[in-house]
């Protein structure tokens, strides 16, 4: 194979239509034999309705356990240029900000060493360099690090943390997501590059409860901004929204989950003691409302995809934490969790599953966190309480 122009009639169909075409993208790099083989293999999958990849053995760069995903074609004779077709996970800058120079540097490196194809970005957040031969891994890594970039996580390690755009452009950020993400990434370089956990551990930082990085669904440690005090209201602006056509009663008051907002046509009154910081009213009237001033984050633990026990959303661990550098409380919590999970977690058991296995109550006791009712949607309904020996004393205090 690898001839210049293998026909790809099925893929060509996907060059049509208004949405930008990944086929066009692949073809843009098709002067490379590797990419021509990729097109061939992919056309084959389209014909046969089946993929042609095999999971990789251990490939990577010296001294690191993660950052490269090994991949092999199951048709190496036909498509020799992509018999090996690994991906690099390059750790993105916080909130995916770049300069054109930085982008060009990355492109140049990938031009030299790989397929010229990328994902901007992978679902975890990395810059994905898509398709590298084994021999190219080390030189590419040297070039990357010299240019100031490093690899992200893969395998049973800290995965590449990511964060929302936060204070860089968003008026609702309740803490500095970019700095927290950067600081945590730097602090845990060793944990990120050298898998030593029972399974992966993901951090995601969202500046407010809108959670624009889906942290509650996709991270073992979800740090979601929130506030304690009153929503800031500019009544003048509220009236302008009303004048401008916003139906405040229907769109705001009736949609507030706790029904704690009233509007008399002149004044918007929020019973902040009942507000659950859901963001809805603020989202609808950004010029009029703002989160309070006493800001921090809720720390939640344990989200994951369904394999194997079913998907989990993260659950509340610390209802409210101030988020100031150097983020000592957050790091202490993470490390306490790693110690206990690291010792007792089973192979490939995410921390969310581990907590369910050992019981949240026991888990808290082990990591030294006091139980608070904010951690549960409701207390237990079943009577299967395992009482400690010292129960009576406990109750007496």
């Amino acid at each position: 194979m690898s001839e210049k122009n293998r026909a790809t009639p099925l893929l060509d169909e996907l060059e049509k239509g208004p949405w930008p075409s990944f086929v066009k993208e692949i073809k843009k790099e098709s002067e490379r034999p590797m990419v021509r083989d990729l097109l061939g293999l992919l056309e084959r999958s389209y014909e046969e309705h089946i993929g042609h990849w095999k999971h990789g053995g251990l490939v990577g760069v010296m001294g690191y356990g993660g950052g490269v995903i090994g991949r092999y074609s199951d048709l190496p004779e036909e498509f020799p240029e992509i018999a090996e077709f690994h991906t690099y996970r390059v750790n993105q800058p916080s909130a995916w900000f770049y300069t054109s120079d930085a982008l060009r540097t990355l492109c140049d490196i990938w031009d030299r060493h790989g397929s010229g194809l990328t994902n901007m970005h992978g679902s975890t957040g990395d810059i994905i360099f898509l398709g590298s031969k084994t021999e190219a891994l080390e030189p590419c890594f040297a070039d990357l690090t010299e240019a100031g970039f490093d690899l992200g996580g893969s395998g049973s390690d800290v995965r590449t943390p990511s964060c929302c755009v936060g204070p860089a452009r968003c008026e609702w950020a309740c803490y500095d997501t970019l700095e927290a993400c950067y600081d945590i990434t730097q602090t845990y370089q060793d944990e990120l590059h050298r898998p030593a956990f029972p399974y992966k551990y993901k951090f995601k930082f969202a500046g407010c409860p809108n959670d624009c990085v889906a942290s509650i669904a996709r991270s073992d440690m979800s740090v979601i901004g929130t506030w304690k005090d009153n929503i800031q209201i500019d009544q003048e602006q509220v009236r302008e929204y009303a004048a401008g056509g916003t139906d405040i009663e229907a769109e705001i008051c009736e949609m507030c989950p706790t029904g704690c907002i009233t509007w008399n046509g002149e004044q918007l009154v929020i019973d902040n003691s009942e507000c659950v910081k859901c963001m809805h009213c603020i989202n609808v009237m950004p010029r009029a409302l703002k989160p309070g001033k006493e800001r921090g984050a809720t720390i939640l633990i344990g989200a994951k995809a369904p394999i194997i026990g079913g998907a989990l959303l993260s659950s509340v661990f610390v209802p409210f934490l101030e988020m100031e550098p150097p983020y000592e409380d957050l790091k202490e919590l993470a490390e306490a969790i790693w110690d206990f999970w690291g010792e007792y977690g089973k192979n490939r058991e995410r921390v969310g599953e581990f907590i369910q296995r050992v019981g949240l109550g026991n888990f808290l006791e082990e990591i030294g966190l006091d139980p608070v009712p904010e951690m549960v949607a409701h207390p237990r309904t079943n009577p299967y309480i395992f009482f400690d020996e010292e129960l009576e004393e406990d109750e007496d205090e």
């Binding site: 949405w19 992919l42 309705h49 900000f97 194809l117 452009r169 970019l178 590059h193």
Partner: protein, 358 residues
Amino acid sequence: MAVATRKTDIGPPNYKQFLPPIIQKNYGKWAYHEIPEPGVMVHVAESGDKLYTVRAGTPRLLAITTIRAFADLADRYCDGYIRWTSRHNVEFLLTDPSKIPALKKDLEELGFPVGGTGNAISSIVHTQGWVHCHSAATDASGVVKSLMDELFPHFVNMDLPAKLRVAFACCLNMCGAVHCSDIAVLGVHTRAPTIDHDELPKVCEVPTLVSSCPTGAIRPATVDGNASVEIEEEQCMYCGNCYTVCPSVKINNAETDGISIWVGGKVSNARSEPKFSKLAIPYLPNNPPRWPEVVEAVVNIVNVYAQNARKHERLGEWIDRIGWPRFFELTGIPFTKYHIDDFKHAGETYKRSVQLKH
């Protein structure tokens, strides 16, 4: 060419060097934002400074040729400052609003539509598919392209009741947030793997293979005198873990792999708590290059939602209000035994009240 100096554990470059001056100045001091037109946002700082963002859709799989072109645009319009979003749209960060029309025109000429803001369908978060992953039950990029070609008007307009997040994953690993999306398109294997008993003893370790199966469906067995394994089909739920550790146990199946559709999930805490997506359609065939059955099914759900939901109501919130029976009625999707949970916490999903609409 000089040999590069290899370093380790340096981490990513510090984001600060990539922030445009207007952001450095107004960092954490934004006052509010507006969306003057689809794909264009203005963030106004307490200082009065205004930052304009132009957002364009991408297929995520990008050639370096394209990235270089984006870099050129960034230089031309925004002093080189550019970012990507958490749903792999690209954003150009301008201070001069008069440049927006030209930038939009350049982007559209390059083939990248401006949109995805507000009550729109933004880019589909997706995964590798046949382009790169071994467990994929279908392609990712092709399905996404087929869908977005049809959903396109909802990307370049803001005409939906609320944001509508579509996600795609090519296997049960669900790389992404498929499990919490308004509409999730999920590749599914529907049969136990087949075993290449000749090859297996040569390339795989039986104990590792046996222990890879989460349901314990795989047992050591001697086949034609060779040490191999057998799979208890009744116990297999097609997760493909075995194929990950042993290429001779083939999960991919050209005849029976296909696509399922899930609806009503969300991630934000706005109004209602985050929710998982729920099964709408258990199986649609794999039909490349355009997956017409899948496209039709998704477009139908979007249309029914768009016509029926209230303003600000996410798809899952709308269904919670009208109830699942009415969702199935309005969309015309048949309800089958596959919709009824039979996994670990199944009983928690049964209807345990008589609050019903008759």
